[in-house]
């Protein structure tokens, strides 16, 4: 009975998305928000079930792998599902007010968003390599469509870049699935895990490499990050939040799942392999942070910060022999997800209020929009990794794992990355809190903004800053039945 919960997490968004489409352009918020509330309830129940009785699996159609498709929910999947629903609900409430003011961009937001969430939930639950391909495409195409929806030519260029990158990524993944099927005759992860060993034929190594590269492109790991800043920086604020907080995490999750699951035999035999993503991750932290410090537009600053923060996720790969590294990765995914959603939402409020998106134009924002600037500041605390935020806990866990295994270089990267993050966060806060407009007449006029927008940004920011205090429960969940 309880496993049905997991299936409804995929079915519900598909249902409300289709109904929203049938209801017509711009409609669907009143359906989506209660449904998202229900989804959040379901995922909490699912988390309870999994922490009581361990990982659960289910065979769609009653056939079971390898003939049918299996779904599986373990601690890792449930953690990602939880992150998705926790962010989606406040984001939907935010989006509802946001698009009320500025209608045309949001005409197809609800159906597209529903399909995107269904794709994400489906991806976290799937245990079948080919089915994962379909969910990857669902997520990728929905995300591209959201970036492009009713945008100008700059947004279209960004969307096209994103589209070709994501198609290249999923194409590589598909070829890898074909190679795996050629070698073993099945695409079920549970069936594959015991048979893929270090003595696997060379084709399997090629498949692993293709999946690694394909998913790194989709996660925008340096040097494949080129598509991310324009896409995330150019979309409308709710979409940017959705993309930066959730979508890029999906391909990271899949990489982690494959690394620890079916390909564990290969990754364990090639100990140095983990340093490839970790090195790129370190470069991403430096490159992304420096670009963020230089960026002129506030949303580009946040987008480059995403490039940097994604880097931390990849630092865990050489350390995965210990459970602590996995926990650090998931905690970082939560910290960044919550904080980045809050930041983009706050940026959306600032842009709506000032009508401009330059960092320089924020002078005096703290007097006009104290809640929003406070939300931005709290999210910034998480990104820099100050206690008691989730970001602090993530970095603490990561440094602990790194030092435990003698990987001092990773600890150094984490510390330097925190300083760089402080650099770009402080740039915005200094403008907002400390500077007053040079001449009173020059002060940007602030338009009134719905309070809901401010409160939702603050809610997520507060969650990101306070999660550090309640991190233990989450960590216990991740440990449960994780990494089969």
């Amino acid at each position: 009975m309880m496993i049905d919960l997991a299936v409804w997490l995929i079915l519900l968004p598909l249902i409300w998305a289709s109904l929203a489409f049938m209801a017509g352009p711009g409609r669907g918020a009143r359906l989506a928000i209660p449904a998202l509330g229900l989804q959040l309830l379901l995922v909490l129940l699912l988390a309870g079930t999994v922490s009581e009785s361990g990982a659960i699996g289910l065979a769609v159609g009653g056939w079971g792998a390898p003939l049918g498709i299996d779904l599986a929910a373990d601690g890792l999947s449930v953690a990602m599902l939880l992150l998705t629903q926790v962010i989606a609900l406040p984001l939907a409430i935010y989006a509802r007010s946001y698009f009320q003011v500025k209608a045309p961009e949001g005409r197809y937001f609800w159906p597209l968003c529903g399909f995107l969430l269904a794709g994400l939930n489906g991806l976290y639950l799937s245990a079948d390599l080919f089915n994962l391909y379909v969910t990857l495409e669902l997520v990728g195409l929905a995300a591209v469509a959201l970036v492009a929806a009713d945008g100008g030519s700059r947004q279209l260029v960004a969307a096209l870049r994103y589209l070709f990158a994501t198609l290249l990524g999923s194409g590589s993944y598909l070829l890898a699935v074909a190679l795996i099927y050629a070698a073993y005759g099945t695409v079920s992860m549970a069936t594959l895990a015991p048979v893929i060993t270090a003595e696997a034929p060379f084709v399997v190594w090629l498949a692993g490499g293709l999946m690694l590269v394909g998913l790194m492109i989709k996660t925008a790991l340096f040097p494949f990050h080129f598509w991310l800043p324009p896409a995330h920086g150019g979309a409308s604020a709710p979409v940017s939040a959705l993309l930066s907080a959730l979508v890029v995490k999906a391909s990271f999750y899949l990489l982690l799942r494959l690394w620890l699951g079916p390909f564990a035999g290969l990754t364990a035999s090639a100990g140095l392999l983990g340093w490839l993503p970790a090195t790129l991750g370190a470069l991403a932290i430096f490159w992304g942070s420096c670009q963020a410090i230089r960026a002129q537009r506030i949303k580009m600053l946040i987008a480059y910060s995403t490039v940097a923060q994604l880097g931390y996720l990849f630092l865990i790969f050489p350390l995965l022999t210990s459970e602590a590294a996995l926990r650090a990765g998931i905690m970082q995914a939560f910290a960044h997800g919550l904080a980045k959603a809050a930041m983009f939402m706050a940026a959306g409020v600032l842009i709506k209020a000032t009508g401009q998106d330059r960092v320089d134009s924020l002078a005096g924002a703290a007097q006009q929009l104290p809640l929003t600037m406070f939300a931005f500041g709290l999210a910034g605390v998480t990104l820099t990794g100050l206690p008691p935020s989730a970001g602090f806990l993530a970095k603490w866990l990561l440094i602990e794992a790194a030092i435990g295994q003698g990987a001092w270089s990773i600890a150094v990267v984490v510390l330097v990355g925190g300083l760089l993050a402080a650099g770009y966060v402080f740039r915005v806060l200094r403008q907002g809190f400390l500077l007053v407009p040079a001449i009173a007449a020059d002060a940007p006029s602030f338009h009134p903004v719905p309070r809901t927008l401010e409160w939702m940004a603050l809610l997520l920011a507060a969650a990101s800053a306070l999660l550090g205090l309640r991190g233990v429960e989450l960590m216990e969940l991740v440990a449960l039945g994780g990494a089969a």
């Binding site: 492009a148 030519s153 279209l156 260029v157 589209l163 198609l167």
Partner: protein, 101 residues
């Protein structure tokens, strides 16, 4: 050599050709063609390798049917973006470097 294996090798060639095309070609319509070649190549590897001993495999055939539909969906979306971009800017190529601000 069976036809399955032969076409799988052809598929490998098509995939790589299409992939390089997506990376290198400037004209957006050509990139869409290249993406389709890439997809067809992967499908040929999937079915060809599964049938390299000469017996038809309905599982991979069904997967490829799914894949073809996904590919046409992606192609249609790409064309919608390209046509709209052309309408707004008159351009059929992406600008060289992503602009920062």
């Amino acid at each position: 050599m069976t036809s399955g294996l032969l076409f799988a090798c052809v598929g490998a060639g098509l995939f790589v050709m299409g992939g390089s095309g997506v990376l290198l070609l400037k004209h957006l319509l050509r990139r869409i063609l290249a993406f389709n070649l890439m997809g067809s190549g992967a499908f040929l590897v999937l079915v060809g390798m599964a049938q390299r001993h000469g017996i038809a495999d309905p599982v991979t055939q069904a997967m490829v049917l799914t894949g073809i539909v996904v590919a046409v969906a992606a192609t249609a979306l790409a064309l919608a973006l390209v046509r709209h971009l052309y309408r707004l800017s008159g351009k059929l190529e992406l600008p060289e470097a992503a602009d920062d601000d």
